[in-house]
Symmetry: C2
């Protein structure tokens, strides 16, 4: 069989595998961040986002079903890198007053990565006429944006606490 | 000498090294993307952003000077991961009509990473009373946001071209 030319459908599928891997990695990382964070508010935020992430993984599984593919991840070096940076902060700033500020910055970088990926996937799903998939992905994008805004508020109050 | 407790200043310095490494990596990666991209518009956008990135590197060097540190990068696994993903798309979709859409998605993920990092650095610089540093970082943040918007427009027209 000759190699078939790759299409936008293939790109959509590859990127879906990438974010599926990323969400599962985030799901495994959040409990460690919740355990390490200093403030109660930040612990609670990480725990809440872990619950939300479970629902986001399920939505991705529905999208795989819609395109008739098995839900399978593909190593996403970007999220691995982001997780590694988080682990570094957790270790190097363990006993520092600045720990939460560092963890929050890392979590915001992750949210930005996801916001960018979901935005792309939605544009491609629309282009491919996949309305139901686009609608599922939009639900998750809205959640990620809300999480990012909540993290920004926490980052501000964490800085104010340090200044006090 | 006993280990000193790490402070927000240290976190600022670490993150500055991270984004300095990232900008330099981007500077090395953009010519490859410009070479690989299919459309003239995307090639031009990558070339323009390479010029801009040079100025951003210089601004970071001024910030290092302001905090009396040597401009030195620190491996940023997140940007390495993003660059790796870009290289994969470049190879796997080399002859595909969807190549530019894939490169654009990767470039937008990089912009989002930078937007998040600069946003954080600005908040910390303000907290630390470093007005001049904050102002330099804000100049770059404004450029990154403009670049992100330009990439979004290019992504839309690239999808429209594929549909035509």
């Amino acid at each position: 069989m000759a190699a078939k030319e790759k299409t936008l459908e293939d790109l959509f599928h590859e990127t879906l595998k990438d974010i599926y891997y990323a969400e599962k990695k985030i799901l495994r990382t959040l409990p460690k961040l919740a355990k390490g964070a200093h403030s109660k508010e930040l612990k609670a935020a990480f725990e809440k986002h872990a619950d939300e992430t479970e629902g986001q993984v399920e939505r991705l599984e529905k999208v795989f079903e819609l395109i008739d593919k098995a839900p399978r991840g593909k190593t996403c070096p970007a999220i691995d890198g982001l997780a590694e940076e988080g682990a570094e902060v957790l270790q190097e700033f363990k006993t520092s007053d600045a720990l939460d500020a560092g963890l929050l910055a890392g979590a915001q970088a992750v949210e930005h990565y996801e916001i960018s990926r979901y935005g792309t996937l939605i544009a491609w799903a629309e282009q491919l006429g996949m309305r139901e998939a686009a609608s599922l992905l939009r639900e998750t994008l809205a959640e990620e944006k809300k999480t990012d805004a909540a993290l920004t508020r926490l980052a501000e109050s964490s800085l104010n606490r340090m200044a006090a």
